[in-house]
């Protein structure tokens, strides 16, 4: 199972990749929608996409990545992972999107294992 992790934090992406290696999983990481678009074919082959909601100021958000994935006929599961609270407008917008639950950072490895289970 290959997981797509989109987050603007370089340390988190690196640590996530290391964790996936230690769990014998595959992953690709991206910092932005542009990164995702550049890796289109590998991204669309993933079975799970973990999207950070806020990818920085004045740049496309995780919700834009979600819509891009749907337009590109992504067949995997999508979840949002955010550090922001339930009152944040982006979190509220994400919670209204179908088939994409929102999880709050930090999640633990057990939760991640559950998500990656086939």
């Amino acid at each position: 199972m290959t997981i797509l992790m989109v987050d603007d934090d370089v340390d988190l992406r690196a640590m996530f990749a290391e964790l996936m290696r230690s769990l014998n999983g595959d992953c690709i990481t991206a910092a932005s929608l542009g990164d995702v678009e550049r890796q289109r074919s590998t991204v669309l082959a993933c079975s799970l996409a973990i999207l950070d909601l806020n990818l920085g100021a004045n740049v496309p958000s995780g919700i834009d990545v979600y819509h891009w994935l749907l337009r590109a006929h992504f067949s995997g599961k999508i979840i949002f992972l955010t550090g922001y609270g339930p009152d944040d407008p982006l979190v509220q917008e994400a919670s209204r999107l179908p088939n994409a639950p929102t999880l709050s950072k930090p999640i633990d490895v057990d939760q991640l294992t559950e998500l990656t289970a086939p």
């Binding site: 934090d9 988190l12 640590m15 996530f16 964790l19 550090g83 930090p106």
Partner: protein, 284 residues
């Protein structure tokens, strides 16, 4: 009509006293609110005594009422001075404060001991205001004038709202005291209005309180908002830490226990952030 207005003023004073007692005794306590509440509490019977005095025609009850009114007014002026010092943070010199208290105490004792109280001349058959009474009223006017000067100083120091409040409030109290002095000097029979100045002062303070409350609420909302932003920004490093700890090899039981402790620390930090909004009275 006059009696009705005086009774209404007594009601306003009592309501103001209750509000300021509530504010002053509610945690965190505030001495200046308690002092102002005591001042308003003293103003309430003063207005009622003056109301009764206004309709009294015979000499003996008028002397009893004026004695009580003066005693009440001495307490009011002392509390007024204490309040202005607390509110402005500009305390007079210790010797001046003691002299003020001593004069107030002497006036009180004289009022209670003198055959016709402090207000009336004992050597005349009719109710004539004594020179001592005029001196005492001048002393009151000076006390209030000091409060007005303190207000002007506060304005000059940049504490505009407090300063303007003391200027307006002190000015209104001063004006009413001057009216009372003129009444006594001219021997007129219109009612004493000294208490009204304090009622006006209490209304001005209510406006100040409302503005203060709004400012504090705004500040608190901003602080909570900032704290929530910080919490949100903390969660991504916590996630990195969580994943990082999960990748650390635990070669032995001691290392395993250390990693578990660090994981628990991450959990506690996460819970701390999540509880922040639930605990706060305001939402950002």
């Amino acid at each position: 009509m006059t009696v009705t207005v005086l009774i209404m003023a007594a009601g306003v004073s009592l309501a103001s006293a209750l509000i300021h007692f509530t504010l002053g005794l509610h945690r965190p306590g505030s001495r200046q609110h308690v002092t102002f509440a005591l001042l308003m509490l003293a103003t309430c019977p003063f207005q009622l005594i003056v109301a009764r005095f206004t309709v009294t025609t015979s000499v003996a009850p008028a002397i009893t009422l004026s004695r009580a009114a003066v005693a009440n007014a001495i307490v009011m002026i002392a509390l007024f001075g204490a309040f202005v010092a607390q509110y402005s943070g500009m305390k007079p010199r210790r010797t001046v404060a003691w002299a003020f208290l001593a004069l107030s105490a002497v006036s009180l004792v004289y009022d209670l001991a003198a055959p016709r109280g402090l207000l009336y001349e004992p050597s005349t058959p009719s109710l004539t205001v004594s020179p001592i009474a005029l001196a005492w009223q001048a002393f009151n006017a000076l006390t209030v004038l000091w409060a007005t000067v303190v207000g002007a100083l506060l304005v000059r120091r940049g504490q505009r709202r407090k300063g303007v409040l003391l200027l307006l409030g002190g000015g209104s109290v001063l004006a009413t005291i001057v009216i009372d002095i003129v009444r006594n000097v001219l021997g007129r029979s219109w009612p004493y209005v000294g208490g009204f100045g304090l009622v006006v002062f209490s209304l001005l303070l209510a406006v100040d309180l409302a503005i203060n409350f709004r400012d504090n609420e705004q500040r608190l909302t901003e602080w909570v908002g900032t704290a929530i932003v910080l919490r949100d920004q903390l969660n991504t490093p916590l996630q990195t830490l969580r994943f990082g700890l999960a990748t650390m090899p635990a070669a032995n039981a001691a290392e395993h226990a250390r990693i578990q402790r660090l994981q628990r620390a991450v959990t506690r930090l996460r819970d701390l952030g999540r509880n922040l909004q639930a605990r706060g009275p305001f939402r950002a």
